[in-house]
Assembly symmetry: C3
Homo-oligomer: 395 residues x 3
């Protein structure tokens, strides 16, 4: 329809793409297999995404991104339009995107230190359809977001029905001493809260052990913990987040809490947390995502690590010298407790060790060793071991 | 495969995209709920489209556009290749696209005055797979189209089987006094006819009350009128269309008629019509789509309204001044009568009032109030009220 | 995520697209209908593909291509990332792509002489998820490929489960006397082998009679030969290929052999072959795909025929003169024998005659007449006739 609006300047269009090919080896104790079912070996596309992103007149921004790797028709990821610099508000977005909750959830998975987010992430809401605002001070040291969402919107952004499901979520981030030009030194503190009426008055939390793999009509890594559907009128989520970067070394931790008002039962609470350290052996750092131009504001999350050197010959390239790429070592502890009163979803601890090799800013090979320790009612304590390998390409 | 055809000039590629996020509030009388079922509230993506369009050597044109919002795998919209300036013919297209029938059906929904097309549109054929020709006089005041289609092609352009289903459709448009450089003053008259052998010898017409919303596996706005499947050998469609633009004021009306030769029953006839007025409070107009260059010919339809001002600051933009955007008020009456002899599909009248706010040429917020009045055998007369809001972004 | 990696040079992105609209007329003898079922007439989109392909720093290459015409969610075609010029190896690719096996299978269907590949192609593996290497001598006269794949990966690149299915495939091609600058004179000899553990220990081969058409939930051209699922521990594939180009005349032939180690039965063998001649009446030739730059290496396959003239006026184009386009005549014999011991899948011979009209390098109209002769146990010998027409647009 470009031609139809002749003489009008068209919105810009840029592309973003992402491929993740995962290979997983599973090893379970017999008790674990009884408690959660069988975990297969295999290879799958964890993500295959393509998106268009652009602007019109500097102030209007849009994003249309689909995932082709999930079962079913292509899933909606970020699909929204927004307007920057609205008086008293900042940026207003309408569409399908992440609710403002949790540092790890909001940071793009393509920049993740580990193959999967920590166990506590199971408590954070997924993308939903709604309207939200984000803004920040000029220094970008204080950032805030709030939004109103349909809490039951599906993977295609739709939510119909007569039960009045919705969610109001907000998040505030403080990054004292933030230097926009250089984020090798960073302090990050955040808090988020969400109040929700669940879709069809049913609420549930479930999680695999920080490794995922599935095939349509085939075997999948099972959930290790799962509350099942809980009839619930209201759900409250609370999040505390903290991160510190000191050059190549970084530390990040979050705590998530959920309170569920059961319809025919007592109020129950669940908890999750994680903490990890990461060290770039080759000296790079985990950069903080700051705003690129005066019209947009950041939301407080991590961005793309850029290696000092790129792997293998790059003759004619005067930008990046050849070298070993970037090497990162990381270790994480995480925890998710879904046991409370009549709900016995399980209590899971994970230890994860990771090695990341960044061949260049857009190609990354990841190795994860994951050791989950599960306590489940009637099954007792059991454990398993997973080794995962990922090739990630994105831009 | 660009590299493989080295030295050859590649076809051009431009992109078109569209997002529509709808929110609907439903209110039905008890009689209406009994007659048609429950109409839910909700929010959904009415459309999420991405398309590639391009040319090769000025004479070859192609278009590949998919919708990601409909249930099922991505639906084929305009997916065709065409050749302009063919002697004696004009433009020849092969692929999946709209049959030549009805002004409102052929005008892109993204430029629609109301959230949904009028009730009579239920009689117009959808996109089908076929071959068609369109051409016009040099002045573009007389335009014609005709084509041969597989009448039963599905949302993916496919149609197999042993019943010989097909359709031949043609349309002629006269726009006396058309000024290609300025369409603020316009007269449009059109006529179309289609003769069809329905797929599997079954034909049906159904319509929601000018508001649509659905969720995969969830609740949807139900059809208010529906013939059900009618065993039929031949179907004839006839369309009369008329539109007048006088600056910010425009008037548009269509009448659709369908005659169905039932296989084991009498010949039945159904009718539909609509008429609407639109007024741009801010002085813009509904532009007519004229051909952009000497190689292509128009088909007679409306195009993209361009606001005189764009909403909110646009510093550095010397093209469009800041201001309130464009505001448009509109009112429509429409009607669809699916009652005849043994077929009692219902008789529906709709009144719709609309307010459109064009923030810029590519962003539009629409409000519709719809009041359907339904007469249905055994259920009598009933009515309902709908309020719809849409955020539309497209280019 | 372009903006997030500011100052870094982004990977390039180019687009490839393909549309194929097929119309098929079927005529079967009564014996044939009994033996294989009914073959419908119809029109369908055989392929509708869109892909992104690009590079980063000359050495990294990626490709993301999806098909929207197959039933189910968009199918993964070539979805991979690769690195050129790796010491001792050449190009290393990870992702979902064709295993190195068979000239006709590896040559892109968009450049095919006939509407469908020959019957023997049913023995060649489809695209799978894996890692592979290809390389060639400086002269590009000797080329080799080898790779390790998940043999049971589905149309979305996924393969999970506890049975250790995999495949190791390799291919070597010799093109004596190859002139990289001009492939109007060409000799091509190739050999490939693949050893495979089939997914879930089940292996099968099936084939339509060199014509395909389907509609979701509708009728399809049935398989004429089909082994059904054979419980098998190991499968060996062998391929011999040969092609000669002498200006407008070309000849191509392949022989495929498969040996299946049945789990509860004897070792069985199946065979297939084809041979065809093609003649460009207008003097063009079938070009061989040679490497475009010093960083990449070819794999030995055919590329895009470029007509000497383009059909219809192209004023202002000084590149290609107007004319009749390219006209190609072709005849093929092919054969697939799936009868051995306890497996009686059928023995099929096909004769195909084709006419191709290339209107320009990117638009092609194909006509095929196909005469299959089938011998099937209990049904005896039967035959059928198919006429297929295709409009192909791709770039």
């Amino acid at each position: 329809f470009a031609a139809k609006a002749a003489k009008q300047k068209l919105p810009s269009i840029d592309w973003t793409a992402q491929l993740q090919v995962d290979t997983v080896f599973s090893d379970q104790s017999e008790e674990n297999r009884l408690a959660v079912g069988n975990a297969p070996n295999g290879t799958d596309f964890r993500r295959a995404r393509l998106g268009a992103v652009g602007r019109y007149q500097e102030y209007y921004e849009y994003r249309i991104e689909m995932d082709f790797a999930l079962p079913g028709r292509p899933s909606f990821l970020d699909v929204w339009v927004g307007h920057h610099n609205v008086k008293y508000f900042g940026t207003i977005r309408v569409g399908h995107f992440f609710e403002p909750f949790s540092l790890e959830r909001l940071s793009a998975n393509r920049f993740s230190t580990f193959m999967e987010r920590g166990l506590a992430d199971a408590i954070a809401p997924a993308r939903n359809t709604g309207i939200a605002v984000h803004n920040a001070t000029e220094s970008q040291r204080l950032m805030w977001q709030y939004g109103f969402f349909k809490s039951g919107s599906d993977n295609y952004g739709d939510d119909t029905g007569d039960s009045p499901d919705w969610a109001f979520s907000h998040r505030i981030v403080w990054a004292p001493g933030l230097d926009k030009a250089n984020t090798r030194y960073l302090n990050h503190f955040g808090f988020a809260h969400s109040i929700r009426r669940p879709d069809d008055r049913l609420y549930s939390i479930a999680s695999t052990p920080e490794i995922r793999m599935s095939e349509s009509g085939g075997a999948s890594i099972p959930n290790f913990v799962n509350t099942g559907n809980i009839p619930a009128s209201t759900v409250d989520l609370i999040n505390f987040e903290m991160a510190f970067v000191r050059g190549p070394l970084s530390f990040q931790t979050e705590y998530n809490y959920v309170q569920v008002d059961q319809i025919n039962g007592p109020r129950v609470n669940f908890h999750g947390a994680y903490a990890f350290v990461s060290w770039f052996v080759t000296g790079e750092h985990r950069p903080y995502a700051v705003a690129q131009n005066k019209n947009s504001r950041p939301i407080g999350m991590f961005g793309r690590p850029i290696p000092f050197t790129n792997v293998l010959p790059a003759p004619g390239s005067t930008e990046t010298p050849s070298g070993p790429g970037a090497w990162e070592l990381a270790a994480r502890w995480s925890w998710l407790d879904l046991n409370d009163q009549n709900i016995q979803g399980g209590n899971l601890h994970d230890l994860t060790f990771g090695v990341n090799w960044y061949l260049n800013p857009y190609t990354k090979v990841q190795f994860n060793y994951i050791h989950p320790i599960l306590y489940k009612q009637n099954f007792g304590t059991s454990s398993a071991n997973f080794v995962g390998m990922r090739v990630n390409w994105d831009f």
